[in-house]
């Protein structure tokens, strides 16, 4: 199980990466942490001709607070670095929770935050949290740079809005509205596995009722999924006494999860309902 031949290039600047993506006539793929890409290469399920390694590009290696109070995580930032960063730990608990669910530390020590977004695995945690937090993905290409809302970025399993010559340079997580609390819950058969189903939630409490309720599911379809009917019915309710059976029915109407070797669609639907309830109650407890 060895990768097919490719040429390896260690990029030194963003311009260098963009140049490779635009000018090289061969099939070019960006390599960051490699934790999703290299298994696929080893199994020869992908065969790019050139790999451009972006991990040594200084501009992509930083975690910083932008002037408007957003968290900017550069494309070469490893998940472990984000997880251990005091700023992230203090103000972006949903990002911390998402990362802690990713694989194992041995994977997170190489894997990058933006790599997980660009890879767009339908059962991945970070895309869901990006949607939950209204994150924006910064993209650059020979045509200049642009910004994509997370909700618009994910198009399907392993499919994003990214053009072949575009590079993700960073992700911006806006600060959470005051009073909101988060939870990321997922179901796996073993710690560290891809989520069978997961949900990232954000709630706020006013007068002992949910004044905000947002839930983004993963592992239930090709992209992170929000279910407006469910969010609408929960806002204004007390989650400890809410009609969760009715919520489950709404979910069943809205979601059509896949069946695979790990779980049937029926189980995924049941898990979505169970996890939603547990996740919202966990976040509610923090309010």
């Amino acid at each position: 199980m060895k990768p097919a031949p490719f040429d390896y290039v260690m990029a030194t600047s963003v311009a260098d990466v963009v140049n490779h993506l635009a000018e090289d006539e061969r099939e070019v793929k960006v390599l960051a942490g490699g934790q999703s890409l290299v298994p696929v290469l080893n199994m020869r399920l992908a065969r790019p001709q050139v790999l451009v390694d972006i991990t040594r590009v200084p501009d992509l290696q930083t975690i910083e607070l932008t002037p408007d109070g957003e968290l900017r995580i550069g494309a070469a930032v490893r998940q472990t670095d984000a997880l251990e960063h005091p700023l992230v730990r203090r103000d972006w608990p949903a990002v911390v929770s998402a990362i802690r669910h990713i694989g194992h530390p041995q994977i997170r020590n190489s894997g990058t935050v933006c790599g997980s977004l660009a890879h767009a695995d339908s059962s991945a945690e970070l895309p869901a949290v990006a949607v939950l937090l209204d994150a924006r993905i910064q993209v650059v290409s020979p045509r200049g740079s642009r910004e994509v809302r997370a909700a618009d970025f994910f198009l399907g399993t392993f499919t994003t809005d990214l053009a072949p010559d575009e590079l993700v340079t960073a992700v911006h997580f806006p600060p959470s509205p005051a009073g909101t609390r988060h939870d990321v819950s997922e179901f796996t058969q073993r710690r560290g596995d891809f989520a069978t189903v997961g949900v990232a939630t954000r709630v706020a409490r006013r007068a002992d009722l949910l004044s905000e309720c947002r839930a983004v599911f993963f592992g239930v379809g090709g992209t992170p999924v929000r279910v407006p009917t469910v969010e609408d019915v929960l806002v204004g309710s007390d989650p400890t006494t809410a009609d969760w059976a009715a919520v489950a029915t709404l979910l069943a109407e809205a979601l059509s999860p896949p069946t695979d070797v790990h779980a049937s669609a029926e189980l995924r639907l049941e898990l979505a309902a169970t996890l939603l309830q547990r996740s919202i109650l966990s976040a509610w407890e923090l309010c």
Binding site: M1, K2, P5, F6, D7, P105
Partner: protein, 182 residues
């Protein structure tokens, strides 16, 4: 640090391969020795260590990043050498199982011996390197972090109890799950 002979990489032997793509020059440190050589673009770090540097203590179990047998320390962090390109390691520091023991066993290795933490020994180097990352951490490790780390390696022989005991002997585990915010 003085490197025992077993820990030092062999002077790299570059085979006369008719590799269809570009070769890259790498300079890196392996178990304290400097290695400077050419590698094929696609050569995995696991194969580089085993086939070119004769450091066969790093074992290859799945090449899918799932089993952890090939775990090494890259700049002090436990990583899958099967998911790491050798070409990407230039300027970095690699530590393998051969680089741990001096005359006597390293504390993590000793803990495995003390608790019957190995049978066939194939997964052992990967486990030892994973646990060494935590062993070397200055602040205490939470229960959750310990389990996260141990779940990143698979053993088929021991039933894990000895491995877990070895890890608890060699890693400073926080008494309360203070860092556990899951």
């Amino acid at each position: 640090m003085t490197i025992k002979k077993a820990a030092a990489p062999r002077s790299p032997v570059t085979p006369r391969l008719v590799e269809p793509t570009a070769w890259r020059h790498v300079d890196l440190e392996v178990n304290g020795s400097t290695v400077s050589t050419e590698v094929e673009s696609r050569l995995l770090l696991s194969d580089f260590l085993r086939e070119r540097l004769a450091l066969t203590g790093t074992h290859v179990g799945c090449e899918q990043g799932a089993c952890g047998a090939c775990t090494v320390l890259l700049d002090g962090r436990a990583v899958r050498s099967c998911l790491t390109l050798a070409a990407a390691c230039t300027g970095r520091e690699v530590r393998t199982i051969e680089g741990l023991a001096e005359d006597s066993l390293h504390p993590v290795q000793q803990a495995f011996h003390d608790h019957h933490g190995l049978q066939c020994g194939f997964c052992t180097p990967g486990f030892v390197m994973s646990i060494t990352e935590l062993h070397e951490r200055e602040e205490p490790v939470s229960e959750d972090e310990l389990m996260d780390q141990l779940c990143g390696n698979i053993c088929r022989c021991t039933g894990y109890r000895g491995i877990e005991r070895a890890a608890r002997q060699s890693v400073r585990v926080a008494t309360e799950g203070g860092a556990d915010d899951e």
